[in-house]
Subunit: 380 residues, 2 copies
C-alpha cells in the first residue's frame, strides 16, 4: 500500500502481473492494472512479461520466494527483514550472484532522504570522523493489530527483525563503517503478546565509532514528540489521540485482530485511508549523529547541523512520493545505471546485526556479527 | 557556592569554621560568618565546636580528608565522586562505620526532587516492575574552564568520575535494584583536552531491568533542548547563546583558563553571579523510565506520567533552595532522625559502576561491579 504510489508514478515501471493468496487483492489488481493476477508464485514467475518482482510477504517466506524469483531470471526487491536466518540471507545473496540478477532489500528507513543526505555529508569528510550515534524510538508497535507470526519469535516475529532491521539500517548507513560488535538486551515484557518487544543495544564500529540504539514497542511515551509530532510515515500526528493502540486492541477479539490487520492491506475495502500523501519524510525516531566537528540531528523536514561555532538547519525538499528513494535505487540497479547500496550483502550484514543482537541478549556478552559469518561459512 | 544558600537557611546548621588553601576564601568566610577560617584541615578538625564537615575539594583529595574528618569524630558530607578508586571508597566506608559517624556523598543529581519523587512512586509498586531507563545528556563539559587534574584520567579527571557518577546515581535511584553488569565505551576524542569526554553504557540490573546511558561532554547539540531549555542547575537557558563554551575557551590561554575556573569559586570577587535562585529543579538530561504500566519522563518542573490509558503531568513544587534535599538528608542523618540513602555504601556502589564503565571500555566486555568488589576484598 505504501510503496504503490511511487511504483505507479515511475515511468520506468509498468505493472505486468501480481500474485496474492487473497481473492480480493487479485481482483483489485486485475481491475486496477488490467494485467494478470496469479494464484501461485510459480505462475507469476513463468510470465515472460515480468522483469522484476517486488516481494512484500511475511518474513518467513522471503528466502524461498526470493530465490525462486532470482532463479526464474527476475530482479528482486524484497521487504526488510531480508530473511530471519543468516543461512537464508547467504543463500539469497548467492542466488542473486549466480543468476546475475539484482537483489535490493527495502523499503527500510535507511532509505529515508534525511538519512541519505546525512550519510553523504558525513562520507564527504566535511565534519571529520563519526564518533557516536544515539538512536531512540518509542512506539506502540506491540499493541497494533498483528498476525500471529508477527508475535512469534521462532517465525521472525517481535521487534528485532521488523524494527531493529530499520534501526540498524539507519545507523549503518550514517556511520558507513563495519559493525565490529553488538552488546544488547532484547526484552519480552508482555506474556499476552509474547515476543521481543523492546531492545537496547550498544554497537561498536571499525575506527572506534559507537552507537546506542533503544527501541520500545511497549511504549506509553511516544518519541514522535521529539520529531515535532510527525509520524513514522511522515504525517502530522495528533498528540491528543493518546493510548489509541492499547484502547483499540483491548476492544478486539483475536479474530477481530487478524481482520483489523487485513483491513490495512491491498484489496481490502477500506485500505485507502492514506489517500493524502505524506507532507514530510519518513523517520525512525530520534537520531543524533556526533562527528568530530559537528553533530547532526535528523528530522522529517531536514537536518539540524550543530557546528563548532554555528548551527544551521538544512531543509530537505518534501518527498514527492513515499519511498521513491527505494524505487529509484531498485529500478536504477535493474537498468544498470546505479549501483545499489542496499543489496544482498547489505541485507545480510543487517540481519547479522539482528542475530547478534538476539544472541548477545541470550548469552549476555558481546557478539561480533562477522564471527557469526565465520560460524555460518563452516556450516554451509 | 551552589550549596551555601541551603546551608545558610537551615536552622539546624550553624557555621563553626572553614578550611581553604586560598587566602581570599578564608578572608571572605571569616567576614561573612564571624568564625575561624583555618589554614590547615588538621586545625579545623581539632576544633571542638565542629560536629560535621562538608568537603568540596578536588576528587583526588577526598579519601584522605574524609577519613581524617571521620577519625576526628566529625560527620562528613563529601561531594561526588566519593573517591577515584574503590579501595579508597572501601576505606572511607570502613572509617565511617568504625567512627560511628555519618558519611553522605552529595550533592549529586540523584538528590534532585524529580528523581526522588519518581523513585518513590516506582518503589510504591503503583506502575509495576521497572523495565528500562533511557538517559541522555549532551553538554559542553570538556570545553568549560578546567583545572589540569579535571582533564587527567589518572587523577580522576574526565567525565566518568564527575558526570557518570551523577548519571549512575540517578539511574540507580530510579531503578532501586542492584546493578549486575556494565558494558560501556568511554571515549577520548580530543587530544588537546585528553581525557574521557563521552561514554555510552548499557547497564543491567537484578530482575532483568536495563538502562542505557549516553553522555557527551564534547557535544555541539545541547540536550537541554529536550528539557524546555532549562539548564542543569535549573535556570532558564538562552538557546541563542550557541557554542559559547568553545568560543570562550578558544580565547583563553591555559593560565587564563585556571583563573576563569577560580573566578567561579567561593571568595572570588565575581563569584556571586547566580544571585537569583533557580526557578526550577536541577536535572541531568533526558531521563525516561519505562515501567510495566507507565512510562515516567522527568523534567525540572515535575513528572510526565504516561499510563496505559491516560497521561498526566505531576508538577513538583519549585525548589525552595538549591540542593536543599542534600542538606536535609545529611543533617537528618547527623541528628539520627533520618536514614541516609546516599551513604558510604551507596557512594561505593556508584564508584564501582564508574570503575566498571572504564574497565568495560578497556576490556571490551561486560564488567560486573560486584565482581570488582570481590577482587578488592581479596586485595585488602
Amino acid at each position: 500500500m505504501l510503496t504503490l504510489p511511487a511504483l505507479k508514478a515511475d515511468p520506468r515501471v509498468a505493472f505486468a502481473g501480481a500474485f496474492d493468496l487473497r481473492d480480493e487483492a487479485r481482483v483489485r489488481f486485475a481491475v486496477e492494472f488490467g494485467v494478470p493476477a496469479f494464484e501461485t508464485l510459480d505462475a507469476l514467475l513463468r510470465s515472460p512479461d515480468i522483469d522484476a518482482v517486488y516481494i512484500a510477504t511475511p518474513h518467513e517466506l522471503h528466502a524461498e520466494q526470493v530465490i525462486a524469483a532470482l532463479r526464474a531470471g527476475k530482479h528482486v526487491l524484497v521487504e526488510k527483514p531480508m530473511a530471519t536466518s543468516l543461512a537464508d540471507c547467504a543463500r539469497m545473496e548467492r542466488a542473486s550472484a549466480e543468476a546475475g540478477k539484482v537483489l535490493v532489500v527495502g523499503p527500510s528507513h535507511g532509505f529515508d532522504a534525511p538519512v541519505q543526505v546525512a550519510a553523504e555529508l558525513v562520507a564527504s569528510g566535511k565534519y571529520g570522523a563519526v564518533r557516536m550515534v544515539t538512536a531512540l524510538n518509542f512506539t506502540d508497535f506491540i499493541f497494533r493489530p498483528r498476525r500471529s507470526e508477527e508475535l512469534d519469535s521462532d517465525r521472525g516475529g517481535g521487534v528485532v527483525y521488523s524494527q531493529a532491521a530499520h534501526h540498524i539500517d539507519v545507523v549503518r548507513r550514517l556511520v558507513g563503517l563495519p559493525v565490529t560488535s553488538v552488546r544488547a538486551v532484547a526484552a519480552n515484557w508482555d506474556s499476552s503478546r509474547s515476543s521481543e518487544g523492546a531492545y537496547t543495544a550498544l554497537m561498536t564500529f571499525a575506527a572506534g565509532a559507537v552507537a546506542s540504539l533503544t527501541y520500545s514497542g511497549y511504549a506509553h511515551y511516544d518519541s514522535d514528540e521529539l520529531l515535532g509530532w510527525i509520524s513514522e510515515l511522515g504525517y502530522d500526528k495528533d498528540p491528543a489521540r493518546y493510548g489509541e493502540a492499547r484502547k483499540n486492541l483491548a476492544a478486539l477479539s483475536s479474530q477481530d485482530e487478524i481482520e483489523a490487520k487485513l483491513r490495512r492491506t491491498y484489496g481490502a475495502p477500506d485500505a485507502s485511508a492514506n489517500d493524502a500523501l505524506a507532507r514530510y519524510h519518513e523517520h525512525f525516531g530520534f537520531i543524533l549523529l556526533s562527528c568530530e566537528r559537528a553533530d547532526l540531528k535528523l528530522s522529517p523536514k531536514g537536518l539540524s547541523i550543530y557546528g563548532d561555532a554555528e548551527r544551521e538547519f538544512l531543509p530537505i525538499a518534501p518527498p514527492e512520493l513515499p519511498r521513491k528513494e527505494v524505487i529509484d535505487e531498485f529500478v536504477g540497479a535493474c537498468l544498470g545505471t546505479r549501483r545499489p547500496i542496499h543489496d544482498g550483502r547489505w541485507g545480510f550484514d543487517t540481519i547479522a546485526c539482528c542475530v547478534a543482537l538476539l544472541e548477545s541478549s541470550r548469552r549476555r556478552t558481546d557478539v561480533a556479527p562477522n564471527r557469526l559469518l565465520d560460524t555460518l561459512s563452516e556450516k554451509l
